[in-house]
Amino acid sequence: MKINVTVNDEQLEMEVGYDEFLVEALRRYGFNSVKRGCDTGCCGLCTIWINDQPTLSCSSLAVRANNQKITTIEGLQEEATDFAKVLVKEGAEQCGFCSPGFIMTILAMKRELKNPTEEEIIHYLTGNLCRCTGYLGQLRAVKKYMGVV
């Protein structure tokens, strides 16, 4: 089925299967920042934005993206780089596998929460698993980036 999607502010016509999820479709069209992790909805690695809302691409049918707006890290390069610098400075990145999904959630949180508490930050990020860092360095970096330290 053909769908028309705005991906990172550009109009795109995509040919997708009825049972294809966005993670597959977007990767097929070259948006390789979108990664598949658990494929069960638990890890947050595949997070993208649909209409500016952080959403799991592994659990969102591509067909449903017709006429919707999609954002991936490719469309947020500058902001992602700004945050990545803070992350690295805090020693909070190791293998980096979790980063694409993690950064998409952080950038969504930055738009949504003004002056969040540490508890609110942790709550917003519970859907993003990281198997390396132990989260403390990440939390330090996020707080710095959000300007709440």
């Binding site: 009825y18 049972d19 947050g44 952080p54 799991l56 659990s59 067909v63 449903r64 990020l125």
Partner: protein, 266 residues
């Protein structure tokens, strides 16, 4: 990659009647909620019926009731000012610990309630309120009756909750964040009437009727709260699974019921 979940044909109906006709055309035709669970099953669907163009994703209120459309996401429940302003925000509280924001933006209210999952946090919270399920063919059914009986193949259109001056509390115990609850409890109080709902036993949520009744009749003392919590843990059945034993759940039930009662009395 091996695909377990397969869709042969995709329909986006413009009316509920059309969706209902399609649903009943073939036994395996399937309604799509957020697909959180469907995608994990091994199912070949002749026609998938997408309900997302029917305007069923709204939370509305009038003088007497609040309505939650079947396609409302858990995230919309969590951030809804209407739901945060009523019943001590019990429904947002019940969904906010379910995995992460990006997951709650996917999964839907109608699929959850229709499927009557035993582990559901949302259903337990809803059961403590005066809630009704609105089905396209089956009409309006009290939630407790719907949970007890189920129904023929139908479409859940919305949930209706009567507005009352209800105090409510929700508590759940998890082995780790992101996991299913080992047990969840909702307690509500409307004047002298109490409801104690317990879910993830691991069976589906039920009201502890005797305990709820006793609480409404007695002196609200520490001793009475203790007695009611023991009764709730006694009258309900519990089971064991990988998350906890039946005995552990029974002990948890007592503790969480006590916590819930104290909260609605505070």
């Amino acid at each position: 990659m091996i695909k377990l979940f397969q869709i042969k044909n995709y329909a986006i109906p413009n009316t509920i009647e059309e969706a209902y006709q399609l649903l009943n055309e073939k036994r395996a035709n399937t309604l799509l909620g957020g697909c959180g669970f469907l995608k994990m099953g091994k199912k070949t669907i002749p026609t998938a019926i997408d309900l997302s163009h029917l305007g069923l994703d709204k939370i509305k209120e009038d003088e007497n009731a609040i309505e939650i459309g079947a396609m409302t996401s858990f995230r919309a429940v969590e951030v809804s000012s209407i739901l945060n302003d009523h019943f001590d925000g019990i429904l947002p509280r019940a969904v906010k610990e379910i995995l992460g924001v990006q997951f709650r933006n996917v999964v839907t209210v109608g699929a959850t309630v229709y499927s009557r999952y035993g582990f559901s946090d949302f259903i337990t919270a809803l059961l403590a309120l005066d809630a009704y399920v609105i089905l396209y063919k089956g009409g309006k059914i009290p939630l407790a009756a719907f949970l007890a009986q189920g129904c023929q193949k139908d479409i859940l259109i919305k949930i209706v909750i009567l507005k009352k001056n209800t105090r409510a509390a929700f508590h759940a115990m998890r082995n780790s964040q992101g996991d299913y609850a080992i047990l969840n409890v909702a307690v509500s109080k409307e004047n002298n009437e109490f409801k104690i709902a317990v879910g993830a036993r691991p069976q589906r949520a039920m009201i502890a009727r005797e305990a709820s009744k006793l609480l409404g009749e007695g002196q609200l003392s520490e001793a009475m709260i203790e007695e009611v919590s023991i009764l709730a843990a006694k009258e309900l059945t519990f089971g064991s699974n990988m998350r906890g034993t039946k005995e552990y759940r029974q002990i948890l039930c007592k503790a969480l019921v006590k916590r819930g009662i104290k909260e609605v009395l505070s």
